[in-house]
Symmetry: D2
Subunit: 341 residues, 4 copies
């Protein structure tokens, strides 16, 4: 059975295991104050051209999201996001558990616009009976595999600045997003168009780990207190530093994203060739095919895709994910099976 | 420089790295629902003779504590613990962040008694203007390196049952505790004298990881929701399963604890031999020496100990920690240096 | 200037002031454990035919809502409600402040159905990455002035019971709801078709006060702890008891609701007669007229209505509220002004 | 039976009932934005010589405390207070429910000092594994009836300013405190020696109500959002304004405090005369007598005092409270009974 059900099926890139092996008996201080974390932070600042940024390493994505959001909001504020945003849908109320409301905006293909933000602020500003919008959350790539272009992100960020709202980008799949043919954003331009972002490791080569990058170091002066309070401080914090050192060296991080996207685009090509409709026009590592029940059953003999949602009688949206670790042969097999449907 | 400042200075036991290597490209489902986690859970149930237990794996200790506590308490309830307990002192209000008060009891050498629990309940039962005691938290070994005997834990657990309070034992240093010459508790008797406990991996051979063991599986039926809500669900959950599989195989977990305690007792012997007073009578892997400023400075040339607290003019309590990874030669060097003071 | 902007513009019904005067120097115990509260609770149990019910008195509606909801939900659970529901829209995240997500369902005229509840549960049951629906909240009358019929509430309550979800009805405007010509519910049938409800005093004759009624007393055994924890316990709790004693005597509570509705229906008749469209078909004390800018300005010379929302270019939905205290002459004036538009 | 068990046994001062009567059918906007609240705020600013202050009115003391504290603290911060402080002992974890730890300091006669604050900050500054002290809470008068002198409060406030911590004074019994012969503080000097304080109405003539006074209006710019979020916004907010208008007119507020203290000092004189030891040297409206079981039983025939705590075998500390409403004759009776013991 070949799995395309998500992008965290395997362990980590071999270079990371090598680095863990090589450093295993080093003695370092704990909690992320070791030289590996410092070095990894420097590499991230360089890769994204944010020389002043404060960089913190957390274990997981939900943890990163809730800790950043709870750090940026006043108690009576909420976070604007796409109605399909991960924080509002698939985090079991982790944001609400910190006392904040998620304020969904109707998204188009997983994305929101500057004018939506302006309108939400216009309607809710200075009315103390409703939650005050206090920040904006978007994902890059989105939960639907789509990406923001430079123009789109510029428009959104301009709205955020005009409204005084920090813009936070969840980069759990950032490497794939930046590898998409549908965006002209680079690491540098991307980083200049938001206030905080994460560099996702879990889905792009690491065993685990998300780097949180605050472009301005004074934005959340005591973020480490928040990490600890929310239960996210890793005792052997260096494990995160070692992994991101390996990922950020020689552009590995971005190369892994390109690899994952290439594999996905091969699957997309096969689907299109076969005439199978796509539920969403995704150019990253998640592809959403609308399959008939028969097609779904046929593929299920050899492949594990993820059921996404119903698409009318006898049809389902099925998600196929790739990652840096998806073997060429597995993609070949899936493409062949699709063409044979 | 040789470090004795804490018990999580190094990476992990070689067998764990080997296991991670061997399984690296396996494809498994995420979030801890993979075969490795299932197998590791079975090994834990066997080792502690809790055949019905529900076992969950979390990344860190604070995370495990806050998730267990928030799962067991009603909103208006608090958790009784030693005034030196980790949850009340060194977790940056993580329990309070879930809405619950920590109710400290004055501890003797880090331990509390059944009669203290009974008295606390007597004073606060059925008075709705104070927080209701809803559970009891202790650490084994304690934050001061001490351990509960079978009689002591039996007494405490009897009080908890009489008062209807679940007893939760934080086993971040459980392996060292069970290796202590000062306790007659075994894994089996220990597990039979509480309702929930953790099996600490971070400080005993793992890269990270704490197993949460509910003796009765129906105690918290939807604990996985709580893990996710609190940001503690690891995407590649198998990493925890793989590590605990390795630790629980062939009694490695307990052997590592014994090794750490042996090293610590050698340090204690050197301190005693040299006539240096001990702040606490610890028989586990943390030793607390009262040093003069001169002694402290002398040792600081070659060794990193942890400052614990002031002990009057010109004196400090300094903590020396060992672990499974502390080399014999490092302990030899420290013992020699102590004798030469 | 005559105000129709909300239904809490005045103080209280004269009988309540008389009762406060008559009891002013009585000495009673505090916190709602006095004879007046006990008597008022008995009168409520009688009026709604819920002989076993636990009755608690709180000061305000948001307070009542958040305290009930936080009492009924497990930490990882949320509350299903209409997307127009007060708790999701106009309480500044008070529910989220207790750690719970509000789960909006698309409402029709402010109401939701049993099948919506069943579908929400079907989609989110047993999937630990999303918030679990843990209860259902509706308002009677709704925020749009509409009411549930006996059939509608029966359908909803059947769904709740089948799904194991408590049904909570916010009765801030319960008296008006039960006076509506559009419902066949009586106090008794209403109370039998939900698990918890409030009897709103603030908008129906009291200075302040909402009675929370749990049909089964064991539903939230320590609700008083929750009231205190959430800051809602009134020191001189008898003030609530005294007010509800007066309201529930001789059917005053229901009579005041009927009076308010009569006044509103006179306004509705005037609007209809004049050919002014209604935004919502409300039969209670809130009427929603779609006015042109010119009409709005004309009325604004003598009357204060509440702007509700935009209704296309040059048009607005304006809300006119009545209450037990709205004088006949004021309604006469408004009706005449409407007819003269 | 004559009650001395607490200071909120009766309703309100007659002038308040008159004011409620006189304004009952006025129509005003809700939520505290009416002219009565504005006027009452102006009177408070004048009485305490804080011309710039922001004044808000809340219903109860626990509500005021939790809302102020949750407004002033960052999520990872806690509130320093006396170990006997109301927020740590008798509010059912209301502060913890907002996510913050209460950090008790060992108090002497209910009071803490500047040096205690400095020491707490010294020990916990910049150590992200412990809760950061973020503000200081004291009560005036304290829970034990004692008061701060000008020198004591100056010392405490200087420490707070040096440490960057706002000082918040819970004035639930402020009128009695300022009437104490043991303090030289006046309303003006008192208000100049803290950052936020409450003016307690509930225990000093009002039906309910606490005014929250922020000396600098920009301290918590959106406090009204916090009031609403925490469930503390009163729909008919004018009820608070009307009551404080009456209380602050002609110095009534302070006169009522003086009356209560006079009554209490008569009781103290009787106790002293009879040779009954006082548990605490209180000069305000709470007196704490150490009674033998026999004395306690004798008094219990005609008087209700409050059991405070055990005082060794056969002895109890019993609290006698007075208020503005305590009749002279009741005090006469109690004094006579004490002398006859």
């Amino acid at each position: 059975m070949l799995y395309f059900s998500c992008d965290y099926l395997e362990g980590c890139h071999p270079r990371i295991l090598e680095a863990l092996q090589a450093t295993n008996l080093e003695q370092t201080v704990g909690y992320g104050e070791d030289p590996h974390c410092a070095h990894a932070a420097a590499l991230i600042r360089e890769a994204f051209a944010v020389p002043e940024a404060a960089v913190h390493f957390l274990v997981g994505g939900t943890q990163a999201n809730l800790t950043v959001i709870a750090s940026l909001l006043a108690p009576y504020e909420g976070v604007l996001c796409a109605h399909t945003g991960h924080i509002g849908v698939h985090e079991t109320g982790a944001v609400e558990a910190t006392g904040h409301k998620v304020l969904p905006l109707p998204a188009t293909a997983g994305k929101i616009t500057g004018s939506q933000v302006r309108e939400a602020v216009r309607l809710q500003a200075d009315f103390e009976h409703t939650v005050r919008p206090g920040m904006v959350y978007v994902s890059m790539s989105t939960e639907l595999g789509t990406v923001y272009t430079c123009e789109e992100l510029s428009d959104l960020y301009a709205a955020c600045r005009d409204c005084g709202l920090p813009l936070y980008v969840d980069g759990a799949r950032l490497a794939c997003a930046l590898a998409s043919p549908d965006t002209d954003l680079t690491p540098e331009t991307f980083a200049s168009l938001c206030d905080v972002f994460t560099v996702g490791g879990t889905k792009n080569g690491a065993l685990f780990g998300e780097a949180v990058v605050f472009r301005r170091p004074d934005m959340v002066p005591r973020f480490r207190y928040m990490i600890k309070r929310q239960g996210g401080m890793l005792a052997k914090g260096r494990l995160l530093g070692i992994q991101f050192e390996a990922l950020m060296a020689d552009g590995l991080y971005f190369a892994l994203g390109r690899k994952a996207v290439e594999q996905a685009l091969r699957i997309r090509a096969a689907l299109t060739e076969r005439g199978i409709p796509l539920a969403i026009d995704s150019s990253t590592n998640q592809q959403f095919a609308i399959l008939t029940d028969e097609q779904r059953e046929t593929l299920a003999r050899d492949f594990v895709l993820e059921f996404w949602e119903e698409a009318g009688p006898g049809r389902s949206v099925m998600r196929a994910c790739t990652s840096w670790a998806t073997p060429d042969e597995a993609v070949d097999c899936l493409c062949k099976a699709i063409r044979d449907l």
